[in-house]
Symmetry: C2
Subunit: 335 residues, 2 copies
C-alpha cells in the first residue's frame, strides 16, 4: 500500500542503499542527489517502515513501561514524564499494567522482550523470587526500577528521597510546637513507607526532649487511613498532629477527623506525603511532602536510553530525587 524505499529508489533513478543513506542523512551523499531523493520521497509520501528498520538495526526505539496500575495517579504522572522523555528521544513507550501480579509481570516482560524493546521501566520486582530476578537481570535489555531505592545489584533505580521527606515532615511538626504526634503507615517492611517512617521517627527522637510518635500500621489507601485514624482518635486522646504515610491515607484521615467533629488544623494538624492532585482539592487543602513523580519517569528514561546506547556495558545507576514541603492549610500550631 504505502511506498517503500524501493519505489523511491526506482523513481529517483538510484539504488536503495543511496536512498537509505540520504534519508538517514549520513555523510557521503551528494547534495543534489540527496535533495532529489528527498523530493521524490516527499512526492511519494514515503514513510520508512520502522519494523523493517528495527529488524536490521536491532533497535526498536520502543520502551516498555510496566506499572501496577496506570489509574494510580502516581504512575500516571510517572508515565507522563517517561513518555515525554522518550518522545524527545524519538522512542515510543508501551504501557503495561501488572497489578503487581508476578505472573502477569513475567508475561509482560516476556512479551516486551519478544518485541525487542530497547529497555524496560518497572515499578517493582519485589514479588519475584531470586531466580526470576536473576533471569530478568540477564535478559539483555536494560531495566530501571521506579520508586525503589534498595540499591539492587542488578538493576538501575530512580527514587525520591523518602528519608528526607520523613525528616522534613518531622521538623515541620516539631517547629509548629507539636509534641504528641502520630504516624499512620502501611504494612511493616513496605520499602518506601518504611523509609519515610523510620526517618520521621528518628528525627522526632532527635528533638529535645525526644518525641516518640504513636505509629499505626494498616492498609495504605483511603480506607486504611480512615480506619487507622478512627482507632487513633478513640485510643489516643492527646494527639495533636498526624503524619500520614501517603496522601491517600491522609484523605482517609481527613474524613475520620471531620466525622468525629474535630477541626483541621484547629484540633488536629495533618501532613501527608506525595502531593497528588487530590491533596490540593480536598477540604482543607493538604499540607504534604511533594514527590517529583514526573521527574522520576523522566530520569528513568534518561538512564535507560544511556544504558541502551552503551549496549554491552551496563553499570546500573541509582538516582535519588529531592522532595520538598508543600504548605497548605492542614497544619497549624499546637494548641
Amino acid at each position: 500500500m504505502s511506498a517503500t524505499i524501493k519505489d523511491v529508489a526506482r523513481e529517483s533513478g538510484v539504488n536503495t542503499s543511496t536512498v537509505s543513506r540520504a534519508l538517514n542523512n549520513q555523510y557521503g551523499v551528494n547534495c543534489q542527489t540527496r535533495a532529489h531523493i528527498l523530493s521524490v520521497a516527499g512526492r511519494l509520501n514515503y514513510r520508512p517502515n520502522r519494523v523493517a528498520q528495527g529488524l536490521v538495526t536491532g533497535r526498536s526505539h520502543t520502551l516498555g513501561l510496566l506499572v501496577s496500575d496506570i489509574r494510580n495517579p502516581f504512575f500516571a504522572e510517572v508515565a507522563r514524564g517517561a513518555e515525554d522523555a522518550a518522545r524527545a528521544a524519538k522512542c515510543d513507550v508501551v504501557l503495561c499494567n501488572s497489578d503487581l501480579d508476578p505472573e502477569k509481570q513475567l508475561r509482560y516482560i516476556g512479551s516486551l522482550l519478544e518485541k525487542r524493546v530497547d529497555g524496560i521501566l518497572m515499578n517493582s520486582v519485589a514479588m519475584l523470587d531470586r531466580e526470576q530476578q536473576a533471569r530478568l537481570a540477564g535478559c539483555g535489555v536494560p531495566i530501571v526500577l521506579l520508586n525503589r531505592s534498595a540499591p539492587n545489584r542488578a538493576f538501575s533505580t530512580v527514587c525520591s528521597d523518602n528519608a528526607a521527606g520523613g525528616r522534613i515532615a518531622a521538623q515541620y511538626l516539631l517547629d509548629l510546637g507539636h509534641r504528641n504526634i502520630a504516624h499512620l503507615t502501611g504494612p511493616r517492611q513496605h520499602g518506601n513507607l518504611g523509609d519515610r517512617g523510620r526517618a520521621f521517627a528518628q528525627a522526632l527522637k532527635a528533638a529535645n526532649p525526644p518525641v516518640h510518635p504513636v505509629v499505626l500500621h494498616g492498609r495504605f489507601d483511603f480506607g486504611g487511613g480512615w480506619e487507622l485514624t478512627k482507632r487513633l482518635l478513640a485510643d489516643h486522646r492527646g494527639v495533636t498532629a498526624i503524619f500520614a504515610g501517603n496522601d491517600f491515607m491522609a484523605c482517609g484521615a481527613v474524613r475520620a477527623i471531620l466525622d468525629r467533629g474535630l477541626r483541621i488544623p484547629g484540633d488536629i494538624s495533618l501532613i501527608g506525603f506525595d502531593d497528588i492532585q487530590l491533596s490540593s482539592v480536598i477540604h482543607p487543602p493538604l499540607t504534604t511532602i511533594h514527590q517529583p513523580k514526573y521527574e522520576i519517569g523522566r530520569a528513568a528514561v534518561e538512564i535507560l536510553l544511556r544504558l541502551a546506547r552503551e549496549d554491552g556495558d551496563r553499570a546500573p545507576e541509582h538516582r535519588l530525587l529531592g522532595v520538598h514541603l508543600i504548605e497548605r492549610e492542614s497544619c497549624g500550631p499546637a494548641s
Copy 2:
C-alpha cells in the same frame, strides 16, 4: 544473542518452516515432531522475534493510544480498559500524550503509522482541519475516536450517552423538589458538555410547570467550577440545586459553596458528571452520573481489532454506552 528459529531448526534436525508451523501450532505438523521442536525451543529458551514476524505478516500486534494527557484520570481509566482488552488479544498499546496540540497529534500519528500499528485510538480530531482529517481517514489503519458521539463519516466512535446523563440529572433534581436550578458548563459548543447541558435543559423544560435553569459557561476544570459558583451564589440567591458539567467543576463548586458558609446538601444540592475517584473521596461525597470510562477503552479496542481483522472492509462503527446515577451525599430535598 538470543536463539533464533534457525537455531531451533538446526538443533532439532528440521527445517525452519517446520519450526514455524509447530510454534504457531498450525495444522499439518506431526505430533511427535511438534513435541520435539517445542522441547528444543524450550531448552534453547527460544523467543520469537516479533519484529521479524511483523515484517512478514504485516501485523504488529500493537495499538496506538493517543490521549490528551494520561494524568487526566478519565483517560487513565480509559487506558486501563483499552490495555486490558488489547492484552486479552495479545496486543500491546503504545501511549501518546498529545495535549490536544494538533501538530503533536499529527506527529504522533505519523510515528505510529511508521511503526505499522494495527489501529489507533484517539480522543479527538476536532482541532484537525478538513484536509488533515481526510488524510487521516485514508491512512490505511482503522481509527476509533474516544468519547466522541458525532457520527463522523470516516471514523468509528465510542461514547457514553451524555444526553441520557443530562436527563437523569434533571429528573433526579426535579424529583427532589428543586425548581430553582443552575447548570455549570464549559465553553459553548464543547461536544460532550453540550450534549449534557442540552438534554438537561430540555428535561427541565418538559417538567410541569417548566423549569428554566440558569446556565453559566466557563472553564471546565476545578477553577472554573469555583469561579462560576462564586458568581452564581452572588447573583442568583434563590438557587437550591446545581448540576455541574463534570466532577472537576463540581469539586470547585463544593469549595465555593463551603467557603461561603453554605451547607451541602442542606442549603444547596450538587450533582456532578463522570464519577471520578475524587468524587467519592471529597466531603461531602458527590452524587454524580457515572460514565463507563473503562468500558469506553475496552469497547474501542474491540472495534479496532474487528476492523483490523476485516482488513480492507471498513464500515465505521458507532457505540453509545449507558450511564447511571450514583447517589452519594451531595443532594437532598429542596427546602
